[in-house]
């Protein structure tokens, strides 16, 4: 937990020597508390104070980063239990699991498809983060082969899964020089796993179904010199996972309990009912997992999960918006209609994608509604006839069209009267409520 300026001040030499550039030690302490200066600016601070201050500067949930070939998955550094309190910072990595007893062709096909998968959502290209390779055969050679096979296809970060340190060692040798996340240390194997983690400079997952034991293990591993740890509380069902992951996050944030101040790994891949895999993964996204391992690669499951992850990790203080103004869709001509909507980015992209996808030319007038959707903005008084008229004038759209036709979203049909008064020389039309119905409306009614 962050120390206050006064707490920091007590650890400083209190000599007011000014060597840090500030007039007093207290002023320096305040700068440190505000994270505007580094402790290294003080040449006199003793090593004991240094280590205390360094500990206090540690985030309550340690940041663990997996890197491979330019790809990066960051997890941890979270500061709140509820996204509205500030925001959730680091999106959990989504990994697809393969097991070494699957047929080689099957592994290759699954990894190729998942590796190249990309889907567009509100102007962003979303992808998966990496792969988990699990030893299911108990054969070290097969494990190494599976790891090599996955690495030959995908350059993304990897998680290696084997409880037997000897098997894990062969997997690590297959990608020598890399630092995957290795899973897992438990009460029986933790020393050997710690040696492997240190040797290969990997992050290490720790597994126990008892929080006491989990905390014991992370303490021992930290003492042994493994800093990047990931927790598996070994719950595989929805209800128990929700509780355990909430308890761990609370302990880290509210009690500053360092032994459980690490990211969590979740395994929806182990769902006993395959239709619950996406449900488990959705919960893991919203409720505190940092790494999520899936079994199936199916676009119809991955796309909703990638979207949910974007939604939950959107900063609530900054609604995602697009620049208000006039957008040209499909090279519109002066005879084409003007469609109006708000600058909430989901609204913008829903409308723009429909019109663009249908190949219909139009002028898309985006009104500054403070990033709210049509109905919300209307209810809040941020999307009314006056604002629309203002946008018409500011963008000069009247000079670009020969036929002055403007189409309102169906949800705000009630604005058409007022808008006629604001824009007397325009023809006001009421369009459909939902963007998906725009192409039919434009073809049939315009």
């Amino acid at each position: 937990m962050a120390l206050t300026g006064i707490q920091i001040y007590k650890l400083l030499p209190k000599t007011n020597c000014k060597d840090c550039g500030l007039p007093t030690c207290l002023a320096f302490a305040m700068k440190l508390a505000a994270k505007q200066m580094e402790l290294s600016a003080c040449p006199h601070v003793n090593s004991d104070a240094k280590s205390q201050l360094a500990d206090a500067a540690e985030p309550p949930v340690r940041l663990v980063t997996l890197k491979a070939d330019g790809h990066e998955v960051k997890s941890g550094n979270e500061t709140v239990l509820f996204r509205h309190e500030k925001t959730f910072f680091n999106k959990p990595g989504l990994f697809i699991r393969v097991q070494d007893d699957e047929a080689a062709d099957g592994i290759r096909a699954k990894v190729s498809a998942a590796d190249t998968y990309t889907v567009r959502y509100v102007g962003m290209d979303l992808t998966l983060d990496g792969f988990a390779v699990q030893s299911a055969s108990s054969d070290p050679a097969r494990f190494a082969d599976a790891v090599s096979a996955v690495r030959a296809i995908s350059k993304r970060p990897l998680i290696l899964i084997a409880r037997d340190p000897a098997i894990m060692a062969t997997g690590l040798r297959a990608i020598d020089g890399e630092s995957p996340l290795i899973y897992c240390a438990d009460a029986g194997n933790w020393q050997a796993m710690a040696d492997l983690a240190k040797q290969h400079r990997t992050a290490l997952a720790v597994c126990s179904d008892k929080l006491d034991e989990l905390a014991d293990l992370t303490g021992k591993l930290k003492t042994k010199g493994v800093a990047d740890l990931v927790l598996d509380p070994a719950t595989r069902r929805l209800g128990t996972s929700l509780i355990r992951q909430t308890q761990i996050r609370r302990l880290a944030l509210k009690k500053d309990f360092r032994p459980l101040g690490y990211p969590i790994i979740a395994f929806p891949c182990d769902a006993s009912d395959p239709t619950q895999e996406s449900v488990l993964a959705a919960q893991a996204i919203a409720k505190y997992a940092g790494f999520i391992v899936l079994n199936h690669f199916a676009p119809e499951m991955i796309y909703p999960l990638l979207v949910l992850r974007e939604n939950i990790f959107t900063d609530p203080q900054k609604p995602i918006q697009v620049q208000p103004g006039l957008y040209e869709i499909n090279d519109p001509k002066p005879g084409d209609p003007v469609l109006v909507t708000t600058n909430f980015s989901i609204t913008y992209f829903s409308v723009a994608n429909e019109v663009e996808g249908a190949g219909l030319p139009a002028w898309l007038l985006i009104v500054d509604a403070e990033g709210m959707s049509v109905l919300t903005a209307w209810a809040a008084g941020k999307f009314d006839a006056e604002r629309i008229a203002k946008a018409v004038k500011e963008t000069g759209v009247a000079r670009k069209v020969a036929r002055k036709r403007i189409v309102l979203p169906g949800h705000v049909a009630v604005l058409s009267g007022e808008l006629e008064e604001e824009l007397p020389d325009w023809e006001i039309r009421v369009g459909p409520r939902e963007a998906v119905d725009l192409p039919v409306f434009m073809k049939q009614a315009l």
Partner: protein, 324 residues
């Protein structure tokens, strides 16, 4: 290392609301459904047992819907032409509650008449013993014209009448109170608007155990994060003792998800969206489960397979021993 798990204690709790009345209580329902009563955040069984499980309502219509996805029309088949058969099918699919949404117009294009609305409600009540919610089309004058005769014709059933909004709630609240029904309020994804409307309806004298609130949500991909956080904030406020946020929450992930292009449409969509049916069901299911975990007491769904999946999830969320 002994780990002491921090437990939250709260001064407030969510109201308990019972939907439906059995014959003994002056209605005709085969059983009642009770929601709310929570003394802590959803599914934190280690702090307090969940007073009542989240329940699943299925939305049916008084006639074949004009704008529903072909996937929904296909799965319900001919039942969509007859509210009574649809109610039966919904009960068989495992719904705890039925929501009958009245259409703005009849199949002939004329506004729905009070007689037609009453007939549809009565047919549904006769066909199924589940507690019922009746939602009017959402146009103030018509809503009042339809809901008053419905309320009078079903006196004592403890139906839920909706939807009360800030511009139109007086007539609905009055008829609910006069005829022994409940109400559902709706406000557009805003904590303060939700509180305000709660104050307004309570000022009319309707008791707290007859109010549900719908804080409104967006579907996955279409603003779910707003609805999700508003519900988390409302539930936290309720537990902290704010009496204007303590109504059980109802949301409509079914209607929202099936409006989304990802669920509604199967043609001319990106290949990266995958199989249409599975995607649509996942869209509805994930929207619903996320909202249940943020505090929804009633989720209103549309597809029977989503209903099944949400049921499996909610059973699992409820099946946690208090010892964990």
């Amino acid at each position: 290392m002994p780990v002491e798990i921090p437990k939250d204690t709260w001064s407030g709790s969510v109201c308990t609301v019972t939907l439906g009345a059995t014959t003994a209580a002056g209605g005709t329902r085969s059983h009642t459904v009770t929601v709310g009563g929570h003394k802590t955040l959803p599914f934190m069984h280690f702090e307090q047992p969940m007073a009542h499980r989240p329940v699943i309502a299925l939305e049916i219509r008084d006639r074949r819907p004009d704008d529903w996805s072909p996937l929904l029309l296909e799965v319900w088949g001919n039942a969509v032409d007859d509210p009574a058969s649809w109610a039966n099918a919904g009960e068989k699919a495992g719904a705890d509650l039925l929501v009958l949404s009245l259409s703005l117009t009849g199949a002939d294009g004329h506004p729905t008449t009070p007689e037609a609305a009453v007939a549809a409600v009565k047919a549904v009540l006769k066909a199924s013993g589940l507690p019922l919610l009746v939602f009017a089309p959402g146009q103030a004058d018509l809503d009042n014209q339809l809901l008053v005769p419905v309320a009078e014709a079903t006196k004592g059933e403890r139906l839920v009448l909706g939807i009360c909004e800030d511009k139109n709630y007086r007539t609905i609240v009055a008829t609910a109170m006069a005829n022994g029904h409940l109400i559902s309020t709706r406000t557009p994804m805003d904590v303060n608007l939700a509180k305000q409307l709660n104050i307004l309806v309570r000022d009319m004298g309707i008791p707290a155990d007859r109010i549900l609130m719908d804080p409104t949500t967006g579907a996955l991909g279409y603003g779910i994060e707003y609805g999700y956080s508003v519900m988390e904030r409302l539930r936290l406020a309720a537990l902290q003792g704010d009496g204007n946020t303590q109504s059980p929450m109802i949301v409509t992930p079914g209607a929202e998800a099936w409006k989304a292009k990802e669920a509604k449409v199967g043609q001319d969509v990106p290949a990266a969206w995958g199989d249409w049916r599975e995607r649509a069901i996942t869209w509805e299911t994930l929207t619903a489960v996320a909202l249940i975990e943020s505090g929804a007491d009633i989720v209103v769904l549309r597809h029977p397979e989503s209903l099944r999946r949400v049921r499996v999830a909610s059973d699992d969320l409820m099946a946690v021993p208090e010892t964990i």
